[in-house]
Amino acid sequence: MFKTSQSMVGIFTIGLLLRFILMPFLFHPDLKTHYFHAQFLQQGVFNIYQFISDNKRSLGYTDTFNYPPLTYFFLGSWNIIVHPILGFSYDKWLNDWGENWFTSDQIFRQLFFLKIPYLIFDLLTGWLIFKILDKKYAKLGLILWLFNPISLYLIYGLSNFDIIPTFFTLLAVYLLQRGSYLWSGISLSFGIATKLFPLMFIPLFIIFCLHHKQIKTCLLFILGALSIFLLSIAFLWRDFFLISNSGLVSLIFQSRFNVLTIQVPFFLIIYLAVLLVFFIRSADLNDLILGILAICMGVLIPTQFHPQWVIWGLPFLIILIAQRIRLIWVLLATWVSLILTVLSFGDKFLTIGIFSPIIPQIYLVDSTETVVISHFLVNKLLVLSEILLIITLFGLYSYRYLIWNKKS
C-alpha cells in the first residue's frame, strides 16, 4: 500500500511539474472571455445574463454568457480570490479589446493563476481514475491521464472549464461504484450546474441503478441529480435559457437524415442505440463507462465539434484503455480526429496562436495552412474525422462485447 501511494506521489510530482511548465505559456481567447464575464461578480452583478443584455453597447466584449449560473459564480469567486495577486494590470487586460487584446505586461502571471482551478480539477480527475481502476491497472491509468498530450492541450492550451463538469461526472461514477447513490446524483448535479452536457448521462445512471438496486435507490439518485442544478438556476433560469446562447443543442441536432418523411437527428439515433445496448447488456461499471464515452463520441460525430468537448469522454476512455492496453488505438484515433477538426476551424488560436504568450507576433503571422484549409478542405477534414470516430465507436463496442471478456 505504502509503495503504491509512494509511486503515485512520484507520478503526480512529474505531472505537476509538466503542468507548471505549460500553464503560463499557452493562451486561448476563451480564458479571457470567461473571466471577462466573471469579473462582474466582484462588482456585485448577480444576474450576468441580464447585465450583458442591458449593457451590450458599453461593454468591450459583447458576446452573451452561455453557461449555467454556477459557472459564473465559480469563476467569479476565483476572480475575486486571485484579484489581489493579479492587480491593476489584470483589470486592464480583461477590459482591453484593442489591438493587443491577447497579451499584457503580466500575461504569464495571469495565465498561471487563472488556470489554477483547472489544474486542481485536472489532478483530481487523475486521482479519481486511480481510485476507480483496479490496483493492477491504476498506475497505468494515472500515467495515461497525466501525460496525455490531448488533455494537456485541452486543459492548458484551450483553457476551457470543461474539465470541471467532466470531473463531477467521473466523481458520480466513482460514488456509484462505492454504492453512494444519493451523492453520485448530487455530484452529477454539480456537473450539470456547470455545463449542461452531463444531463445526457442521467438515463444511463438510472438504468445502472435499476439493474443493481431497487426503485427507491434510483429515486434517491434522481433527487440528487437534479438538486444542485435546480437550486443553482432557481432564480436565473428564465434569463439563462432565454438570453444565453449555447451552441451545444443546436449543433448536435444539426446533422439529420430522412427516415420516410421525418428528419431524424443523427445524434438521437446514436444516443438511443447506446441506451438500448446498455439496457440489454448486464450493466456493469465498464458498460456504464463505455456508455458515457459513446454518448460523448456521439456528440462529436455529426458536428464540427468544439475541440474542448473531447475532454468530456477522455477520462472514461483512459479507464478502458488502462484495463485493455490494446485499445490505445482509440486514443490515437481520437487524437487524429481532434487534429482534423482543429484544422477545419481555420482558427489561429487553436493551433499556433496558443503560443502567443511566447511569441506575441504569432497572432499576426499569416498561417497559410489555415487559409488553404478554410477554403478547400474543411468538409473533407470533417468527413474524415466523422468516419474515423464512427469506426472507433463500432470498434470499441465490438471489442467490449466480443473480445473483452475472453481476455479477462
Binding site: Q6, V9, G10, I11, T13, I14, L16, L17, L18, F20, I21, L22, P24, E99, D105, Q106, I107, F108, R109, F112, I143, L144, F147, N148, P149, L152, I352, F355, I358, I359, Q361, I362, L364, V365, D366, S367
Partner: protein
C-alpha cells in the same frame, strides 16, 4: 511512462518548432491598424507610404475596401528604394479584393530592403464607378502590415531574447515560478535518491 512523457514533450517541442518555422517565414515587423479614414484609389494617382525597414520582406498586407466587389480593375503595388529605383512590382485585380479586407501581397523571393524605401499603390485604370478604397490614419499612414523572412537561427534568438525580457519583466512572478519549479525538481530528486 517514459514513452508517454516523451510523446508529450515531443508534441510540445514540435508545436513550438512549427511556430518558429512560421515565424521565421513571416515575422511581423510593422503593424499599423489605426483606421481614421479611407481614400479612393483614383486612376494614375499613386498613394505613397514611406517604409524604414532593413531586411527581407516576404509579405505585405494592406487593408483595402472594394464595396460589393464591383471594381475589377488592375492595381499595381511597387516597392522603390530611396533613389526611386524599382525593387519589385505586383499586380492585382480588383476581383480579388473584397469588402474591407487585409489584402496579402506575397513576395517570392523576398525583397531585400536596406532602410528607407517607398511603397506605392496605383490604380492604372478605372472602368467601374466604384473605386477601391485604402484605409489610413489621420497622418495618412496606411493600414499596413509588413512581414520579414528571417533565418531560423536569427528568429530563434530574437524570439528568445524578447521572451526572456518579457518573462523577467514581472520579477515577482518569475521568482515565484522558478522557485516552484526548482522545489518540485529537488523534491522529485530526493525521492528518487531515497527510493533507491
Amino acid at each position: 511512462m517514459t514513452l508517454v512523457l516523451l510523446t508529450s514533450i515531443i508534441a510540445f517541442i514540435g508545436a513550438v518548432g512549427i511556430c518558429f518555422v512560421y515565424y521565421s517565414k513571416e515575422a511581423p515587423i510593422f503593424n499599423q491598424t489605426q483606421a481614421d479614414k479611407s481614400v479612393p484609389l483614383e486612376k494614375n494617382q499613386p498613394w505613397v507610404q514611406l517604409l524604414n525597414i532593413a531586411g527581407r520582406v516576404s509579405l505585405i498586407e494592406i487593408r483595402l475596401n472594394n464595396i460589393g466587389i464591383q471594381n475589377h480593375d488592375r492595381l499595381i503595388l511597387q516597392i522603390k528604394d530611396s533613389q526611386g529605383n524599382l525593387l519589385r512590382r505586383l499586380i492585382i485585380s480588383g476581383s480579388n479584393i473584397r469588402n474591407d479586407e487585409w489584402v496579402k501581397f506575397k513576395f517570392d523571393p523576398a525583397v531585400q530592403l536596406n532602410g528607407v524605401s517607398n511603397l506605392e499603390i496605383t490604380a492604372t485604370e478605372l472602368t467601374s464607378n466604384s473605386p477601391v478604397y485604402l484605409f489610413m490614419n489621420n497622418q495618412n499612414q496606411w493600414n499596413l502590415r509588413v512581414f520579414l523572412e528571417l533565418p531560423i537561427l536569427e528568429s530563434f534568438l530574437k524570439v528568445k531574447q524578447d521572451f526572456t525580457d518579457r518573462f523577467n519583466f514581472d520579477r515577482v512572478f518569475a521568482t515565484i515560478y522558478y522557485l516552484l519549479l526548482v522545489s518540485l525538481i529537488i523534491y522529485k530528486g530526493i525521492k528518487l535518491y531515497y527510493g533507491k
